[in-house]
Amino acid sequence: MKVREIAYSRSGDKGDISNVCVFAYDAINWPILRDSLTVDLVRAQFKDLVRGSITRYDLPKMWGMNFVMESALGGGVSMTLRADPQGRAFATLMLEIDLGAAPPEGSHAGPSEVCR
């Protein structure tokens, strides 16, 4: 199961630091996200894009977390040669991570329940 099945995200930039916040759509999926979306998984997904530390801040009331990645934007939005200077697409790279678990029974994962 990819993160995208149960969560959404937004990425932001300040200097050479990228933050990607990720939130479960539903409370039932927050424990899965909390327990499985580890810093190690995120580092394995972002590989050489991120040269510095990755810190995770949990936001349990939001059913989400904030990943702060240093030296992550090729020198920062004004200096980087990357095609996506702000790392906007980092939000989607986060959602591509495979959590290696099936959606839980009774989960509201998937498009039919979250569309409005």
Binding site: R10, D16, I17, L59, G76, S78, A83
Partner: protein, 442 residues
Amino acid sequence: MSKVVTIGGGLAGGPDKLGPGIAVANSGRVSWMGLDCLSERSLALGQVRRNADPTQGHWERIPEFLDGYGQFLMTGGRVVTNFGVANVEAAREAVIAGARKRGFDGLVFGFVHGDNVLDMAIKRDLELPEMGGRCSDYGDQVISANAYIGAEPIVHLLEQGANLVVGGRIADPSLFVAPICFELDCGLDDWSKVGNATVAGHILECGTMATGANYSDPPYRIVRNQVEFGAPLAEVSESEVIFTKLEGTGGLVDSGVAKSQLYYEVHDPSAYLTPDVTADFSDLSVEEIAEDRVRVTGGTGRERPLSLKVLVGLDLGWKSVGEISFGGSGCLDRMREAKELIQARLEPFQSEINEITFGAHGYDVLFGRPLTLNEPTEVRFRVAARCATRECATAVADEVFQLHWGPVASGGAISNIVPAIGVTQAFLPRRDVKLETEIIKI
């Protein structure tokens, strides 16, 4: 019931659409508007324009602003903005002349001066932590230095009746924190209330990102009528923020949009640093209280940072980007051959190329690697280089064009050469940054 301040966020940056904010201003729903015209690079780019022409370096759309916001200002609405960018004096001339021309008699204008700290940055040889060096390592490549401005000077101008406050590097949330705290009559050292006001400022500073922009992801997240997003407006009391958009406008305000925007560009949620406060967003709650209407509670804060962040602009030469397409079976092999050709042909320029990257749109440009094993049906080869000289940048662009005669069936070469203006951070003790305010009545 405690007092409520009504305030809208009209822009997410200098090039953003003015219409949605003007609609909020003229809706009768808000007393205040904040307009954020800056990104991290704006001050350095503005300084480059100012160096070329001393009458430039401010936001270029002030006439458009005066046309759009005239009615709001003339009927008691008040606006705080950082559209002075790198030349508050020139913005002042444009505002005063434009207001007189339009007959905006009786308005009071406030200006914040003094965020330009270039001389001090050079004299004190400020450390540039992200660069691993100091200003002196860059000599005359240091082209600008601007300290972030907080709510204090803005409140001072509002107390004197300013209808419009204009500054340079006013911090994004401070554009909103100042009017909120002024109208709630809460001290700027009432950290909890300033923290709550900062929640409002953080939501409003990015304009339509609070109303569904940067959110749609079908089929998971559907946002209605993105053709014309409504701008956000907030109702702020001492301990809560309710935000919404005008009825009938496009976009979406729900808890998902709220959460996404609340933590956008935030690092440690318990210590979001602004010139005004160490805001604490770690225990927020969001609640959908009606359609397109969300309440945020729990915003608080602690004492403001002792240092002010300074954005230092560096002239890093020239940036050159060139692209050309390859398609069909073997397109990756032909692209790799093109890369080897470019590298060999640019060999004479090696000493002038500070950094060069190669990638392919549709393959590895965004993530540094492909996410699937399938060969793409087409790729767009991309070469990007930062060069010490314009000649070198031109050579990079030219070599991409020369690939027109390179591996078979390459097409659609384009290139772009721009000055490479870098922005990095430094810090100054708050007491050393001497801001001044000015009031002009017409």
